[in-house]
Symmetry: C2
Subunit: 380 residues, 2 copies
């Protein structure tokens, strides 16, 4: 067993206070000695995913951040709007660690041969609490990175790649042959576009702005439409006819986008059909809401027959459902295509201290396409 | 082959006119000679189900009916509100026959032994176009009624009984152990209550008014709540805890009832749980919308985690999905329990001519619980 690491390290914590504020800070935590099948990873790259922002900031207002503490141990306080406080009461008094995934180098390993084999190797890790300088994790939580892959390249090996793969896998398992994706210019959307191009799967990408459509088209996307366009509804029908997509994954969640998609699918299915029954087509149309960019209620205008479904979708429950073997196959593909299909891009790399600065919080707190941060906890 | 029936008979037709009116009339149609595996049924009882009203009246205003024509061949005209005309344009110029199911006596039979065996016997029929004096149907569309069962008792052998059985079967196949039903004092709701009592399945019945709750409780229902009550939300959670129901069948469709049910299910599941994740419980919660009593949009306030689904549900696609063998088993159970579990009640029995009278249309057009009509096309 090697002990090439300090006994303590900094870890980012997010705390909801009874006063209705959310406090971000860096706490010193003990780094345990690894057990037989554990390793200590020096975290060098961990992304701020939309799902992390949910834990990091919750309903707090990103524009309200106030900095205090010291330069090395900043303490940042944000206001939780009164209307959202009830939704965060369950977290009161619990200083939550943040960061679903990341990558780094194994600096200490347990006694087992498998753990020892990882010493000094770069690994991607899915273990939670990754916004930290060091992390003690089990071998099952590690994905060894291929020769020549840096931690920065492997930082986003799980959430986005497995989500993209999970969407295509869900499409196949539920009997559809093409899919729709919204907020499709996101890192995830670009990745899904590459995956669908590689696998020859039809993809309809819905974006909000014309320049996002251009970005996707420049990456080879064939079926893109802009939801803010006055011709959106008719264009969407045409793209659905062209692809035959009858399943959608929607990141916005609220408002009328899901119902518009179902309605357009039904119109595409019924194109050229003269005798449409009162219950609509018999083809099942499905929209999965996997995010909540729009927190408003989801409004369903039921004008698309009776063969439809809307529901929540999350990648990790999906992996659990398909079982360890099928999941391992997906992970192996991610590792093999990390520099191509599953490549991620970041707008900025910051240290833990920099991640707590009000200007940074205001930027990544917008959850905007193109504003994706990578934290390097080993940087000072 | 026997020919104990006239060559023509009256059949009810519903026609959408280009002027934006809906016209109901009785047309004389030819009754063919039955082929080998067909029989001619003299229809004596056929219910006006909510699903029939959809074809019969569609979006036309039931209070607008104006009577013309003759006493024996009335022609009734109803106004389709301007806002709803687009939704009915697909039917323009097509004089649709109506009536999904019914029962009667076999008055002529094809040459096959199986057809001949039904001569003079009462049969229930699922074939469409049942609002007619005579109907030529195939053997597959017939369910021979047990000895001593009248056509009136067998008139509703399919839609409601198979819907109730289909709901319980869907519950079991999707891994739930108890269910929720809305508009639960309906004929269907009372039937579902008897079925769940017989099978020992937990049922939460949601009704709109206190007297409907009393009606169900008088029939042995244990878990009833009133959606108009100020304590509805908390009562529903208690009933969901008591039954463990995680699937619901909602006849209203529009508004916030589905989202209230999902929210109450999540609260029931999380009762006593202190560490609720940001994505809510992992227990899948499902609401199927099988009707549209409330035509307003369905509003989903996503405050119940990510393990949820909402979708359309119809009994006949469900039967198709489970296949002919499983469907036949359900039908055999209906025939065996037609006077007990699957007993139906009607507020009035009318002739075809009476079904076209404005007062009758205003009554059954309300689609109200307790206002269920039975047409006897053999009555004059």
């Amino acid at each position: 067993m090697s002990q090439d690491h300090p006994r303590t390290g900094l870890q980012l914590r997010s705390l909801v206070k009874p006063s209705g504020e959310l406090q971000l800070s860096l706490e010193s935590v003990e780094i345990p000695a690894p057990r037989a099948n554990e390793v200590i990873v020096r975290v060098e790259a961990t992304p701020i995913n939309p799902s992390d922002i949910g834990t990091l900031l919750g309903a707090a207002d990103p524009a309200s951040a106030l900095l205090a503490g010291t330069a090395e141990r900043p303490v940042t306080t944000l206001v939780i709007p009164a209307a959202a406080r009830a939704s965060m009461r369950g977290r009161e008094g619990i200083a939550m660690a943040v960061g679903n995934e990341g990558a780094g180098v194994v600096v200490a390993a347990g006694s087992s041969a498998a753990a020892q084999a990882l010493l000094r190797r770069p690994v991607a890790v899915l273990a939670g609490s990754m916004y930290a300088q060091f992390r003690c994790v089990t071998l099952e939580q590690c994905l060894p990175l291929p020769e020549g892959t840096t931690p920065a390249e492997g930082a986003s090996s799980f959430v986005n790649p497995l989500t993209a793969l999970g969407m295509v896998e869900t499409m196949r398992r539920e009997g559809h042959t093409a899919l729709v994706h919204t907020a499709a210019a996101s890192n995830l959307g670009q990745m899904l576009n590459r995956l669908c191009l590689a696998d020859g799967v039809g993809l309809v990408s819905i974006v909000r702005r014309a320049e996002q459509a251009e970005l996707l088209r420049a990456q080879g996307a064939k079926h893109v439409c802009v939801s803010d366009s006055p011709t959106f509804a008719t264009e969407l029908v045409e793209l659905l006819i062209a692809t035959g997509a009858t399943i959608a994954f929607d990141a916005t969640g609220g408002g009328r986008l899901a119902t518009q998609i179902l309605s357009a699918m039904e119109a595409a299915i019924n194109r050229g059909v003269t005798n449409i029954g009162r219950y609509g087509s018999e083809t099942h149309k499905q929209v999965y809401l996997y995010g909540g960019l729009d927190t408003a209620p989801t409004e369903i205008v039921r004008n698309f027959g009776m063969a439809w479904g809307i529901g929540g979708w999350l990648v990790f429950p999906f992996l659990q459902k398909i079982g360890p073997e099928a999941s391992a196959a997906l992970k192996a593909r991610v590792a093999a295509e990390l520099k191509t299909t599953f490549h991620s891009q970041y707008s900025r790399e910051v240290s833990l201290v920099e991640a707590l600065q009000p200007a940074a919080i205001a930027a990544y707190g917008k959850r905007a396409t193109g504003e994706k941060f990578l934290i390097n906890p080993s940087r000072h």
